[in-house]
Symmetry: C2
């Protein structure tokens, strides 16, 4: 059997509200985010022992391993290549899990639908504490509003119609999703701000209002660092829009001109309008 290859897009969350349901399928988040062409390409082959490599190095990769445990009927080598950094709010672990789930479905002829595949990746994310709503967005593509939380088939999404948008981003470093979500007071702050943001966005769903509402959320939820605020202000001084990537010390922007260059490497990705899939 040859190697199978699958792809899943990255996802930048602009704002969110944590929803703890009765089980992992019903746990997730409401909110809104951008799905990117940058993402994760995964190649899977049968092997003697199970092994996960990320960008060429063997990795613990708990979320991907969760999917392997659930789906793989024999030991496999899973090699994922990430266009985006891990742990910085780009849904990298979700994309790793989703592309792995697509690949295993094909390799072992499991006959699962796209929704079945995404559900397993969602559960892996939730149970490993690496994300809440990324897989839901990543299995749709576009500028995705997550209206109701939960795995595909349970949660509810809509999309804001946008054209061919170039998203610019700069990453300074990671923020631990787990540590933020563990703190009850932080969660309360986030959820209050998240509910307000979603209400405001739905009154006028557009790319511009998504950017504005996300920026307000980052302040309201008390998540913005000084360095992130400096970057956002620099973009706004150029007439562009920017906000903080949830959750990473990172900024995403549209029409930022040259404003971000002084802060770090500026990466650019178009919006991706599809969910994950086989290559």
């Amino acid at each position: 059997m040859d190697a199978v290859r699958a792809y899943a897009p990255a996802h930048i969350t602009g704002f969110f509200e944590i929803v703890l349901g009765k089980d992992s399928l019903h746990t997730g988040s409401r909110g809104c985010g951008l799905v990117l062409e940058h993402g994760v390409t995964t190649e899977i082959t049968l092997s003697d022992t199970t092994l996960v490599e990320i960008n060429g190095s063997v990795d613990e990769a708990p979320t991907t391993r969760h999917v392997i445990k659930r789906f793989a009927e024999a030991p496999v080598t899973v090699k994922s290549r990430f266009d985006v950094p891990v742990g910085c709010g780009f849904g990298a672990s979700g994309a790793g899990a989703l592309s792995t789930a697509y690949g295993l479905n094909e390799l072992f002829s499991l006959g699962l639908s796209a929704e079945d595949v995404a559900r397993v990746a969602h559960v892996a994310e939730v149970e490993c504490g690496t994300g809440l709503g990324d897989v839901m967005a990543q299995s749709h593509g576009g500028l995705v509003i997550r209206l109701e939380a939960g795995a595909p088939g349970i949660g509810l999404v809509d999309r804001i119609p946008v054209g061919d948008v170039l998203v610019e981003y700069v990453v300074l470093g990671p923020i631990s999703t787990k540590s933020v979500l563990r703190d009850a007071e932080k969660r309360e702050h986030i959820n209050r701000a998240g509910r307000k943001a979603l209400r405001n966005l739905l009154q006028n769903p557009s790319l511009q209002s998504f950017m504005q509402v996300s920026r307000e959320f980052a302040v309201d939820a008390n998540l913005m660092t000084d360095r992130v605020l400096d970057m956002i202000k620099a973009v706004e001084a150029e007439g562009g829009f920017a906000s903080m990537v949830m959750l990473g010390e990172a900024v995403f922007a549209v029409n930022s001109g040259d404003a971000l260059a002084e802060f770090g490497e500026v990466r650019k990705s178009r919006i991706y309008y599809d969910g994950g899939r086989l290559l």
Copy 2:
């Protein structure tokens, strides 16, 4: 104001079951079909009187006009370029309506979500009698199973994971959707065959079983013409899969080799994994 441009993909229905609901939003079809890169590109400008052009000629275009009536706040000129023939089972009218709805939403800053836009196109299709499930599939992309009938937000879809598939098709001529759907006995035949096809597909959702189940449906539902059957048999003799486009005197195939060349112009399109959108 400049012209706005939008795109919507074509959709080949492999099999279907007609579902008449309490209103147009709840009316539609269950079934399964392929969304294609071939589709409809629409350009909209403000003008003195409302006018619809299809491939350069002024056209009645009732489904597109239905959308214009609903959305346009001033007279517009709508020019649609179709990659696929109209009235032959490629969801051309749905794609025309969907791309027009995306364009008008942008031109008049209506602030509608992707689902809102698709709902209006779905209603236009149903009320003009030009289609039942195309818009639902076209607003998702991929190999789409329509599990429950109705407009986006009411109907329910899932997708069969497939890679980069090249779909080949030959069109002999149109079949009137309206005339088939008007006949109660034909409807009963179709619905019995459609329910059986969906049941069989869900036992093993894959591209191959979609092709096989669709072929059985075309026979069971009594829709296959002799010419279509000849084409399908020619593809099968080459080891490929083929079935009839619902509803047109047309065949779609994968891995047909040279089998279709003698019957007419063979067109090829990749599967498109997105819904309609702004360009």
